[in-house]
């Protein structure tokens, strides 16, 4: 197992290297650079812009820029963000924790909703309960998040005024106090819930289908004929097996959420990575763009590895050698 994990980590190196070249070339292929926003500033002296470009090395051929960037990046230095005028890692760090918290709370909400609903609809399939749950999950599947999030915002943020309508924390509370934590959580609930409510579909459906499949498997029939009480049949035999795909997907889910929820972050003015990524692309802040892509790329590789490890841990039939 350790060997396997080590091997996977070693494979990541060429993968990330390839990713970095692709990202770098594509970023450079976009028209404009971090200074083009100034092209329409009549007070900006074009000669000055050229001087700054020269200083920043933006006029060099891409492979020279790439080598310079890569040799710094392997030492953990992703350069300076031109828009934020501060090291890229600082910019990202500011946002990263917001995104991580949002992702975690979203994940918790999603599972809190999806698992009971999936179990109910699988166990009582084709009853009205199942039909309601399936109906809900299809509606969730078909609802665009940007509309749903806005509706949630207007209902709970404005009309009922239960939750704050934007930001990640109330600026009046002091860091480190209990009120600060409460305020943080309070700001998280609405965006997390908005995502979770319509992100449950796949989990519900997987769980439901697995349970229905397992219900008629031989080992279940055996258990029933042995006289195992119905509740034990479900909890011991069916559910355990049905959770396999859910567990396997956990790794992917986490990486998916780390990438940042652009739309949710934008609507709730929640400063996270997704929003940073989008604005950095349109402002051509290449150093931030490449750093975020590399980070999410790494997170994805890590997520798949995590999924494999979870799978082997919960399913004794799968062995990683």
């Amino acid at each position: 197992m350790w060997k396997f994990i080590l091997r996977r980590f070693l494979v990541m190196i060429p993968q990330l290297f390839l990713l970095s070249i692709i990202v770098f070339m594509m970023a450079k292929a976009m028209p404009g650079d971090a200074l083009s926003g100034q092209e329409i500033n009549p007070r900006a002296n074009p000669a000055e812009l050229e001087r700054i470009r020269e200083d920043l090395g933006l006029n060099d051929p891409w492979y020279q820029q790439y080598i310079r960037w890569a040799s710094n990046a392997v030492q953990g230095d992703f350069g300076i963000s031109y828009t934020h005028k501060t090291p890229v890692m600082d910019v990202i760090e500011d946002r990263l924790w917001n995104t991580v918290f949002l992702a975690l709370v979203t994940l918790i909400f999603t599972y809190m909703l999806a698992i009971p609903l999936g179990i109910l609809s699988g166990r009582y399939n084709d009853t009205w309960v199942d039909k309601t749950v399936t109906g809900y999950s299809y509606i969730g599947f078909g609802t665009p998040i940007f509309i749903f999030a806005l509706i949630m915002l207007f209902v709970f943020g404005f009309a009922l005024d239960w939750f704050p309508s934007g930001g990640s924390v109330d600026s009046k509370v002091d860091e480190g106090t209990f009120a600060y934590v409460v305020s943080k959580i309070n700001h998280l609930i609405l965006p997390a819930l908005s995502t979770a409510l319509i992100a449950t579909t796949s989990t519900i459906q997987y769980l439901r289908n697995e349970i229905i499949d397992n219900k008629i498997k031989d080992f279940v029939r055996t258990a029933r004929s042995k006289g195992v009480p119905e509740s034990n049949v479900y909890s011991r035999h069916i559910l355990r097996n049905s959770f396999l795909p859910i567990a396997a997907f956990l790794g992917y889910e986490i990486t998916g959420l780390i990438g940042g929820a652009v739309i949710i972050e934008t609507i709730f003015s929640y400063p996270g990575l997704g929003q940073l990524f989008l604005s950095s692309v349109s402002l051509r802040d290449f150093s931030v763009v490449t750093a975020i892509v590399m980070m999410t790329g790494f997170a994805t590789l890590l997520g798949t590895l995590l999924s494999d490890i979870i799978l082997s841990a919960v399913d004794p039939r799968i062995r990683i050698e």
Partner: protein, 589 residues
């Protein structure tokens, strides 16, 4: 200084305006034209009031919440020397300011933190900082602080874009900038006094001089290259404006408290919270009192108008939209514009295209009256705007006549005109994406040109993203025949930066001897006489109107919503001192 912002939002967010319409009880359909401002001398600009009407006495301990309307967090570079995006500037406005105030024409006055004097030969400017002007840590603001700003701006390590031509005119500045000198010989400091000596007299000094100091004592231990990323700029900035920064939630919010030692007197508010609000919820937040002040976009204008608790103030923005013709290319070696593309050399063709489009209707219908036909490329909030020059009025018959005269006639009877040689005449129109109006507007113009028989097509059949668009212009892509763009203009009326023979920003590449002459006259020594300068720019605007190297299309209003409990807010006051007078006459909600 204005940087045009461009849409970064997913078009999906447009849906928000629908929801807003659904949420607001839109019963009042009053025309904005009923509201007349007090300021009637400049007719064009009086569609909205510019000051709050609340005359009540501000309460003690008042608190105001300012909504910074933006779809991204502010970057947090809280210094005028370094900041890049407008959101940061809005934050800076509360705690810091320039040394010189300006009047409604953006000309310096002696009412602010410093007074100034210009020598008889117009080459020396002396600023005297008032005695009671102190930084928020109690240290006095001195001439050395302003000098330090110049030393930073001119330094090799400075990566911003604010080193401009006005600065380069200071004696010794170019030498310092090139690294040949350790100090700037043309700047002399004596305590609270600072003197600038210029190589050449330039009337733009009364509008364009850099007067924003840096707290030398506080900042000088940080190397210049590290200043912009230092905590002293980003987390604990010290200014001398009406409010002190108490706390910053990075990118989201700032808490301010009154600075009692402010040189104009203690501010009327005790504290201010600034927070970022998404454009899609700005009006809603105004309605429920979460925020007291927020700018309002054209999309949300109708909803905002219907609110009972909010007053709408408006002013004409320092910007114009235009349609430009491509005349040639920029010769980088000579640093000069060269006119070598004869496609639009006949000015009757250009005039015809101007007569063919109806900007009145564009402003009324598409922009809900928040934009109006532009008569010139100097915005109407300047006294330099030539009121006698009228916008090209919609007159398709005249357009057709001009085209006939110029020889652009339909020879093959396909409904579209051929060029004077009888060849097909196609015009590629480049236009930028961003916002919901961009595409219908472009199509509208194309349609109107087709009505007079001109075959205009959208370049590549689509709109171009901001960066790609300016890339096409900058590199003088031969596919582009005409384009639509906008300029935000600085408070300095001198148009040379966009119009001179040597200007790289002169994207049309139009050059004209008369133009060169008038631009030079506008910044000559004689132009210190204001009437002379006004006459010069009037003549220049007539030239532009006659030659139509660009068609000025629209001027625009910017509007802001202010809660009715707020008093003393003046939307016209460009400089920071506007926050000092602002109070609230009752508690929130």
């Amino acid at each position: 200084m204005k940087i045009k912002s461009y849409s970064k939002v997913l078009s999906a967010l447009a849906i928000s305006s629908l929801l807003l319409a659904a949420c607001s009880n839109d019963t009042e359909k009053s025309s904005t034209k009923e509201k007349k401002g007090k300021d009637v001398e400049q007719v064009d600009t009086s569609l909205f009031p510019t000051k709050t009407t609340n005359q009540g006495e501000p309460i003690d301990g008042g608190h105001l919440t300012y909504g910074l309307v933006s779809d991204t967090p502010f970057e947090g570079i809280l210094n005028k020397v370094f900041y890049q995006g407008d959101p940061d500037n809005q934050v800076i406005t509360f705690f810091d300011e320039d040394l010189l105030d300006t009047d409604e024409n953006y000309v310096f006055t002696n009412d602010g933190a410093a007074s100034y004097e210009i020598s008889d030969d117009n080459k020396t400017v002396t600023l005297t900082i008032k005695d009671n002007v102190n930084w928020q840590d109690g240290k006095p603001v001195t001439g050395a602080d302003l000098e330090y700003a110049y030393l930073v701006l001119g330094s090799k390590d400075y990566k911003g874009v604010r080193y401009d031509e006005q600065m380069a005119l200071i004696e010794g500045m170019e030498e310092y900038h090139a690294g040949k000198a350790d100090s700037i010989s043309g700047i002399k400091v004596d305590g609270k006094k600072i003197t600038f000596t210029f190589k050449k007299a330039n009337p733009s000094v009364t509008t364009g001089l850099w007067t924003y100091p840096l707290h030398k004592e506080y900042l000088s231990d940080v190397p210049i290259a590290k200043l912009e990323s230092s905590d002293k700029i980003r987390k604990n900035p010290i200014g001398y404006g009406p409010f002190k920064v108490k706390k910053i939630v990075q990118g989201e919010a700032v808490e301010f408290e009154a600075f009692e030692g402010y040189h104009r007197g203690a501010p009327k508010l005790d504290s201010v919270t600034l927070k970022v609000v998404n454009p899609s919820v700005a009006v809603k937040s105004l309605e429920n009192g979460d925020i007291d002040v927020a700018s309002i976009s054209a999309d949300q204008f109708d909803q905002a108008k219907a609110l009972d608790n909010v007053e709408i103030l408006g002013k004409v923005d320092l910007a114009y939209t235009y349609i430009g013709f491509k005349f040639g290319h920029y010769d980088e070696k000579k640093a000069e514009n060269v006119m070598d593309n004869p496609k639009f050399e006949d000015k009757r063709l250009r005039q015809a295209m101007a007569y063919a489009i109806n900007n009145e209707e564009v402003g009324e219908k598409m922009y809900k009256g928040l934009r109006f036909p532009a008569n010139s490329v100097i915005t109407p909030n300047f006294k330099y705007n030539n009121k006698d020059v009228k916008p090209y009025e919609y007159d398709p018959e005249k357009a057709k006549k001009l085209l006939d005269e110029a020889g652009y006639v339909d020879t093959n009877k396909d409904g579209l005109r051929e060029d004077p040689d009888g060849k097909e005449f196609k015009i590629n129109f480049a236009s930028m994406s961003g916002g919901d109006i961009a595409e219908p507007l472009t199509n509208y113009y194309i349609q109107q040109w087709q009505e007079v028989g001109l075959d205009v097509q959208m370049l590549d059949g689509r709109l171009h993203e901001f960066n790609s668009f300016y890339d096409l212009l900058k590199k003088d892509n031969e596919e582009v025949d005409i384009y639509q763009a906008a300029w935000g203009v600085a408070s300095d009326p001198d148009p040379s930066g966009l119009w001179s023979r040597s200007a790289a920003f002169n994207y049309t590449r139009w050059v004209n001897d008369k133009n060169d002459e008038l631009l030079a006259k506008g910044i000559s020594e004689e132009a210190f006489d204001d009437q002379y300068r006004i006459d010069t720019y009037n003549e220049w605007q007539e030239l532009i109107h006659e030659e139509v190297p660009i068609i000025p299309t629209l001027f625009r209003y910017t509007t802001t919503g202010v809660n009715k409990r707020v008093s003393g807010y003046d939307y016209l006051a460009e400089r920071q001192y506007k926050w000092f007078n602002v109070g609230v006459t009752e508690e929130a909600k």
